[in-house]
Amino acid sequence: MNKLIEAVLVLMLGGALALLPARNIVRAGTGLVSQMIALALVWSVALPVLFGGPDVTGDMPWAYPMGSLHFRLDALGAFFLSWSLPMTLLGSVYAMGYMRKYFDSPRHIGVHFGLLNMISLSFILVYVGEHAVTFLLGWEIAALSAWLLVIWDYPNQKVRFAGFNYLVSTHVGLIFLVAAVMILYTNTQSWFLDDYGDWMSQNPGTVRNVVFLLLVTSFGLKSAFFPFHSWLPRAHAAAPAHVSALMSGVIHKAGLYALVHFLLISGKPDEWMGWFLIAFSVTSAVVGGLYTVGQRDLKRLLGYSSTENVGIAGIGFGVGCLGLSWDMPSLVALGFGGGLLHVLNHAFFKCQLFYAAGCVYQIKHVIDIERLGGLFKLMPVTAVCFIIGGVAISALPPFNGFASEFLIYSGLFTGESINIWAKLTLALTAAALAFVGAVSALSITRAFGVIFLGNARDNSLPEAHEASRWMLIPMVVHTIGTVVLGVAPTLGFALVAAPTALFLHLTPDAVAFDTLRSVTGTLVRIGAISAGLVAVLVVVLALVWLRARLKRQMPTRNATWGCGYGAPNARMQYTGASFSADFADRFKNIMLMLKRQKAPAGYFPRDSYVITDCVDAVERRLFAVINHGDESATDLSKKLHEDDPRLAFSAGLAAIVAIGALVLLAEGGLP
């Protein structure tokens, strides 16, 4: 426990030192060094817990009304800590390259690195805090630091708006969380999450259901589940690449952590909670997936795919909940194991994709896929990292996304004897997941094909070349992780096994732990298949190359088939919009495509254009409602005459009645 406190102090000290007047490079270095020390300290505590050690607990006396602060690091928190901190460190390394152009400018780079330290610090508070106040404190530190990181480019009005949008949304989420904590506090008179869990497990009923819904809403907002995702694409598009990567891959996993943590401590859930989680998550996965198809901005696309992927992990958690309520350890292991493994895998490939997007933006100063093209040959490392991440995010073998989705699918197609309609509903969910997989394959092919393949579409952009090493190294590290966790998913599951075992403790079945072993066996097989696929492919490619060499049939080069047209140019290539037009047209009720066009007119048409843009339906609706509410409020206030004494009198009377009613209805009366 002391080491965790030291880590917190180191992070605060590093953040503070980064603010001192010094050269920007020194400030950034201070941030990195302090994160490294904190990482070593955290690992020395978290890894033993993760691999079978006892929980680490600690208390710290604090002033009234908090009482004693209670900390406990269990396997679940240790799992999240074990990768959140190193990934934040990698993100900070990436920032060294991404922010390099500001190092010689008057901008204070230390603030940025200090805030990255605060992100790491918030992880420790959230994943270790057993006290509602430290939990909320960590939650809030993460939200505020993320907001400040997003608005790095604050002179840009769009960026400020995106940041503000994020800030408001995340605090709306906080309101739900605080409401849930208030209900729990009134029922337990305690600040400790454990007591909340005990109360929830002993008192099933309406109040628990309300608390569950409040918590799911709040955590859903944090992790950007549909329909609480509207802030996300804006924030991701506006933030620097590493901040988007950290938000999507790491910071918003805190929402999923909190969800899983509350599920863990509140014992056996009702069956409807499992179904509710599945329905909520499937909607999120499907809609998030659909929205990735229409985007022109690569970072918005990746943002929506976060909504999709938290949905996929959520399906796993839903299956796990069903397993808990039906007392079926195999479903618990597959659901929670698969869901948590997907959280880890997603952190790997999502950061990788955002880093690749950042490399492209850094060099080309544009992230609109329609203006890019042909980057593969000029940025091969970035391109390879992007496609590996893309294949992984479409859950295709041989990379890591496949392993975790395989577990979730195995849970959905369970061989356990359950009600036939439940079984068919789960199969229907699996079909929806298959649809999501195909959709994300579509959008990733579209993005990769348009950005990296073919010819450059816009020659007015700067010449492309590979980004700086500071940016390539974190990206390559993530890529290696994606590949290794794909061919050896048991390595990932070794981290997930301990938290999954916590859930298996909740099932009364004595054979619970055999299921963990059988899940590991499944993953060994999946890893073998992925590795085998890679090996066979390498052998086949080697043989093909050798054969061509021996038969002297090395390929010759010629122009692309142009259907006989002699003067093709880069503008004639298939674009992102044309790639998705067919598909998007089928879903125009969900994906709003705004189309502005000016048709060519007259014999010598001058300027004609078509601009299509996929806008967020939820956001538009939200703004419409807000605008409408604003208007109705204005209308109402016009009808009221403020100088009318009757108004003041009736308002006062209403207030007195309300206060009186509250006093009379309150159970205990006034103290």
Partner: protein, 308 residues
């Protein structure tokens, strides 16, 4: 016994793509009153292509050549898990159908990437169509497996397809499932009415337009992989109908399955001869019929199991 079945499975997987394509073409020429190409013509075509020096677009990246072999290897990997002889597949384990579906998915993404790689105005069109039609085809396969899995209570591909004929639901759901598989075959293997392998107009092609720039051995790999996909789906239909258990009576089961697969090729050929391809905007609806049929069989299984 298993060795024998594995060997047969391997031989069928390697040989049938050529035979089935030949049979489909033969059927079509028979309907058209032509003599038609030899049954094994595509073998000669493939050999000819293998001997050629490939010509690659100047725009293409190294991924272009690689992806042809990714498609081929993935097809073969999937073939090792697809039950073609009934209740048997050389590689068989719990939930292997997910691996089948996703290895084929990897093949698809590789195919689409190689199409986008040459910077053509047409090939992206094919890739976009392939991508959007596959989003409708993929759920159909999983619904079908869901229905079969719920009916049999099994979790491996070979078991849930092979045991289906011994369940009481079989007479009710066999037709919708075969229909769903046939539509999947036509979608995934680019046959009429979804796609026409003989079309020569870039604007109306799907699969062919994606491989416009492939030549030599890469084209051979792509064509063989497409024929292999047709074989896999034909094999699935055969395994679904085949009443023989290959583990008990191997010879009969192999012969019945083989006969059924040839029959599927005949049916595919007849459909190609007698119908025109659908307008592109109707294709999605056609593919959705597959999902609908699978959904119907799911509901039938559900109603049957709850005793209604």
């Amino acid at each position: 016994m298993n060795t024998l079945l594995t060997l047969t499975h391997g031989v069928l997987v390697l040989a049938l793509p050529i035979v089935l394509v030949g049979l489909v073409n033969r059927t079509k020429s028979w309907w058209a009153g032509r003599k038609g190409p030899r049954l094994l013509q595509s073998a000669s075509d493939l050999r000819r292509l293998l001997g050629k020096r490939p010509v690659i677009s100047t725009v293409a990246s190294p991924l272009f050549r690689m992806s042809a072999y990714v498609v081929l290897v993935c097809g073969l990997a999937a073939a090792s898990m697809v039950p073609m002889l009934g209740q048997f597949a050389p590689v068989q384990f719990s939930h292997d159908f997910i691996v089948v579906a996703y290895t084929l998915g990897l093949a698809r993404i590789a195919l689409m990437i190689s199409a986008m790689d040459v910077g053509s105005a047409f090939e992206g069109m094919g890739a976009a169509r392939e991508a959007s039609f596959s989003t409708y085809a993929e759920p159909a396969l999983f619904l079908l497996i869901g229905a079969a899995g719920a009916a049999t209570g099994m979790t491996s591909f070979a078991d849930l397809i092979g045991h289906l004929h011994s369940t009481p639901y079989f007479p009710v759901i066999v037709l919708p499932l075969v229909l769903a598989l046939l539509i999947l075959l036509q979608t995934e293997a680019a046959r009429v009415p979804v796609d026409d392998p003989l079309t020569h107009l870039e604007l109306t092609m799907i699969h062919e337009v994606m491989i416009l720039d492939h030549s030599g051995p890469e084209l051979a790999a792509m064509q063989y992989a497409a024929a292999l996909k047709m074989t896999l789906y034909a094999g699935l239909i055969a395994a679904l109908i085949n009443p023989m258990n290959p583990l008990a009576s191997p010879v009969a089961a192999i012969l019945v399955s083989l006969g059924l697969m040839l029959l599927v090729a005949l049916v595919v050929g007849c459909i190609e001869s007698l119908t025109a391809r659908l307008p592109m905007r109707w294709v999605t609806r056609y593919v959705l019929i597959g999902s609908g049929a699978a959904l119907v069989s799911m509901v039938a299984v559900g109603l049957g199991a709850s005793g209604l």
